[in-house]
Symmetry: C2
């Protein structure tokens, strides 16, 4: 399993992914699932991936190869005029992998499973955030629901549902996203530390703040222990049911 | 979907079930999923059900018919000597329904889906709690994990993982179970009010405290609003990530 969250704020983006992969609980690995592309001063992209690792890595490889050797027709991440067009570039890469692999996966009884959260900013356009499906199509975040989750989304959703707002500060949103990871890590062994966290400030047009958060990260340790303590206190302070 | 929680405490049992059923979001209904059998002074049983409603209702009907007209061989809920034997009686009823219906469900492309939480007390034996599967077999709660959930378990699990302990008071455990429902109700439309809540005090050997909790229940309203407030305060009081 995997857990990734992307959040679109008035002030930028917060993107985070765990790094655990597994083919059964007896076969776990560590792979990066947060990818960035930047053309400083012009554009920045962040991609979070979930699903079949062979599929998601192939999508990323195709995107990278097209940056190095642009195809004859069609946009690349470098040439896309808008984030909508860039999301199409990613969706097309998903469709290319699907054409190559889906039938082989199906004949092995496996699904073509992949999903992506794709955010970024191009020039003067505001930052935008997309949830891209295995079919290569996508939806876009709006202020009503300014976040997307992929992978094991349920344990970490209640805190997002209660707290997430577009007008949060980046540091507050990062705190919320890490709390969402904390709940997920506690309940699902197939989601594991370290977490890759990226915060992007609108109009920076470069990757400035990335952080790999492991077991020993002092902020995450503080967050996890303070939150536990606060929940226990909050629980104790509410009146019990009078039976 | 459905959400049910059963918890085994040193001091008794807390059992709760929602009442929403659905065959798609355009077809929702209200059905009781918490059943009790009592022989005051001798024994009490509580059964929570999830899965295919036709299956779970058939299991309950068989158990009731066997109380009225005992089969020639084998125990009934009335005659079982221990909770372990009583759990076998329920498991056998599940297997009877499976023999009648499973092939027909499968031929319609539907699964024989049913799960149960079964708790109670017989005579001088301590209260016991079981999670009974569609195959009719079961596991029993222990102090390490004193609760079971069936149906939509993920949203409501973090609070149980953090707070549940066998030595809680019944009223505290009921508060915790209702908070677990509150999180689930917020995130999954297919789980719905009212909630049927039963609290059983060890050695009562009768059903004393049942409560149907709807939208207007003052305790549940207080709980839900105080918990939201406390979570927001707890969140605000933790230092943001310094980017």
């Amino acid at each position: 399993m995997t857990y990734c969250v992307g959040m679109l704020l008035d002030k930028g983006l917060v993107m985070a992914a765990d790094t655990r992969t597994n083919a059964g609980v007896d076969n776990v690995g560590k792979f990066k699932k947060l990818y960035t592309w930047e053309y400083p001063g012009d554009r920045v992209y962040v991609l979070l991936t979930a699903g079949n690792l062979a599929v998601t890595q192939a999508v990323v490889s195709i995107l990278n190869e097209h940056e190095a050797h642009p195809p004859e027709a069609g946009d690349t991440l470098k040439t896309a005029a808008t984030m909508f067009q860039a999301a199409h570039v990613v969706g097309d890469a998903v469709r290319t992998v699907k054409a190559l692999d889906a039938a082989h996966l199906t004949s092995n009884g496996e699904a073509f499973a992949a999903s992506f959260i794709f955010g970024g900013q191009i020039g003067g356009e505001r930052p935008r955030l997309f949830n891209i499906y295995a079919a290569g199509n996508f939806i876009e975040a709006t202020p009503d629901t300014p976040f997307f989750q992929i992978g094991e989304h349920k344990y970490g959703k209640p805190i997002l549902d209660r707290v997430a707002r577009s007008d949060m500060e980046l540091g507050e949103a990062a705190k919320m996203v890490l709390l969402s990871f904390d709940s997920t890590l506690r309940s699902n062994l197939s989601v594991g530390l370290p977490i890759d966290l990226l915060t992007y400030e609108t109009d920076a047009l470069k990757v400035e703040h990335t952080k790999r958060i492991g077991l020993d990260d002092p902020y995450f340790k503080m967050l996890s222990s303070e939150w536990s303590k606060a929940l226990r206190t909050a629980f104790a302070n509410i009146e019990a049911l009078d039976i």
